[in-house]
């Protein structure tokens, strides 16, 4: 009974908002240890690692960026080369076309020349032939005429010089007549 009353009295005094001294001490010590570990050891530790990781990631990103830049430059180079090659091909084609056209033109000129040559040669041949023909014809006609005249007049006209003079005169007369008729 008395014990109960004492306990009751003790409880009456218990105020949950008044901190008991020993607990304050234990709480302070308990927290101080936690704080000390975090402050001095654990957080510097993890911060160092986080920093390293950040750097590693940044390094990786930088590496990737470098690789990308290189790939880009290679691509540019390749594109430039390709464009150059295309340009070159176009140039060659152009050149070939020009050369072809020139060849054709040259050949045409050459053909023309040859044709004209052939025609000229033909003309010359014809002229020569005609000249020769007329020459021989003149002789033959002269001879025939003299022979015929000799037979008719009974006089030999074998003297060549006289003969040819007479024939020439005859022919000239013929030509003059032809000229006058024209």
């Amino acid at each position: 009974m008395i014990a109960n009353l004492v306990q009751l009295a003790a409880e009456e005094e218990q105020n949950p908002l008044v901190p008991p001294g020993p607990e304050l001490l234990v709480g302070t010590v308990a927290f101080a240890i936690v704080f000390f570990f975090f402050w001095k050891k654990l957080l510097p530790n993890i911060n160092k690692v986080l920093e390293q990781r950040r750097e590693a990631i940044e390094g990786g990103i930088e590496k990737a960026e470098a690789a990308q830049t290189e790939a880009q430059s290679v691509l540019e180079q390749y594109k430039a080369q390709l464009a150059e090659a295309r340009h070159e091909a176009a140039r060659l084609r152009q050149e070939a076309q020009e050369q072809g056209a020139q060849l054709i033109a040259e050949m045409r000129v050459e053909g023309q020349r040859q044709r004209e040559e052939i025609i000229a040669a033909g003309h010359a041949q014809i002229a020569a032939d005609r000249k020769a023909a007329s020459q021989s014809l003149r002789q033959d006609v002269g001879q025939l005429a003299t022979t015929l005249a000799g037979k008719l007049v009974g006089e030999s006209l074998e003297d060549h010089a006289r003969q040819s003079r007479t024939i020439d005169r005859f022919l000239d007369e013929l030509e003059e007549k032809a000229e006058a008729a024209r």
């Binding site: 008044v18 308990a30 927290f31």
Partner: protein
């Protein structure tokens, strides 16, 4: 009475409608009293002190395992530790104080958060089943540390006069009511603030523990004759309360640290 009450709760014969006329052994202040486990000289060592020291042990051990041999490519434990660390650092400190100003206070806030959280979690750990922070001494110590930190910081940052202006919100543009404002600010900042800071945590844990004990004891006490279904309801409520308490424990740790940060933020800011 306290010891008797606590014992009655675990008495096999003490149930509703039992012949010995045993009443409901309701939880009360006596639920927060512990007999000393042993004495060191005149020093009484009780269960709550043991739990407080175990809290230290657990926090330090966990983070030593997680961060002791920290690697750039983290293991599982380190990943969990980093997530917790990052939550406090980025989610609370950088958010309120900014990276530049806050960096200095990260160790304090991280230790506060995990220390408080583990102290709270004891509430639902079998055999322990008591939130250390429901004894006012523990929140009071932590609130005092925060109080000393921000008050000293105020005077260090703004000088003696500037510090008082910062704390009281003294502002000439307010005209004649500036004295009233200053008085209220002085009262609420310097006197009430540490008290509310500690009591907010304490009271939440205190009430939570009362609720848990009540439903737990009731589950046993109602387990007789036709009231057995009621015992079932009480048991379900115990489970619900445990889940709810898990939530409250984390939230209270978060709120405590968030407030600590906002006090420091007020101390470093130019205009209160």
């Amino acid at each position: 009475m306290s010891a008797d009450q606590t014992q009655l709760a675990f008495d096999w014969s003490c149930r509703i409608m039992s012949d010995n006329g045993c009443g409901f052994p309701a939880p009360g202040l006596h639920s927060f009293l512990f007999k000393p486990m042993f004495h060191i000289g005149g020093f009484e060592f009780n269960k709550v002190m043991l739990l407080a020291l175990l809290t230290t042990l657990i926090v330090v051990t966990f983070f030593t395992l997680a961060f002791g041999k920290a690697k750039v490519v983290p293991g599982k434990l380190q990943m969990i530790g980093e997530a917790g660390y990052d939550f406090v650092r980025r989610g609370i400190v950088y958010e309120t104080l900014g990276k530049k100003e806050g960096e200095k206070y990260v160790p304090l806030m991280v230790s506060l958060f995990f220390f408080i959280w583990i102290m709270n979690i004891w509430s639902v750990i079998p055999l322990a089943q008591f939130p250390v922070s429901s004894i006012i001494a523990y929140p009071a110590v932590l609130a005092a540390i925060v109080y000393v930190t921000w008050v000293s910081l105020t005077f260090k940052r703004h000088g003696f006069v500037g510090g008082w202006k910062n704390i009281t919100g003294y502002d000439n543009s307010l005209g004649p009511i500036k004295w009233l404002v200053s008085f209220i600010e002085f009262f609420s900042n310097l006197l009430v603030r540490p008290f509310t800071h500690a009591v907010r945590l304490f009271a939440n844990m205190f009430a939570g523990h009362l609720m848990l004990v009540m439903f737990t004891v009731a589950s046993w006490y109602l387990l007789n004759s036709w009231l057995i279904p009621a015992a079932g309801v009480s048991f379900v409520m115990t489970m619900v309360m445990i889940l709810f308490e898990l939530f409250v424990q984390a939230v209270q740790a978060y709120v405590f640290v968030l407030l600590a940060c906002s006090y420091i933020q007020g101390a470093v800011s130019e205009h209160h």
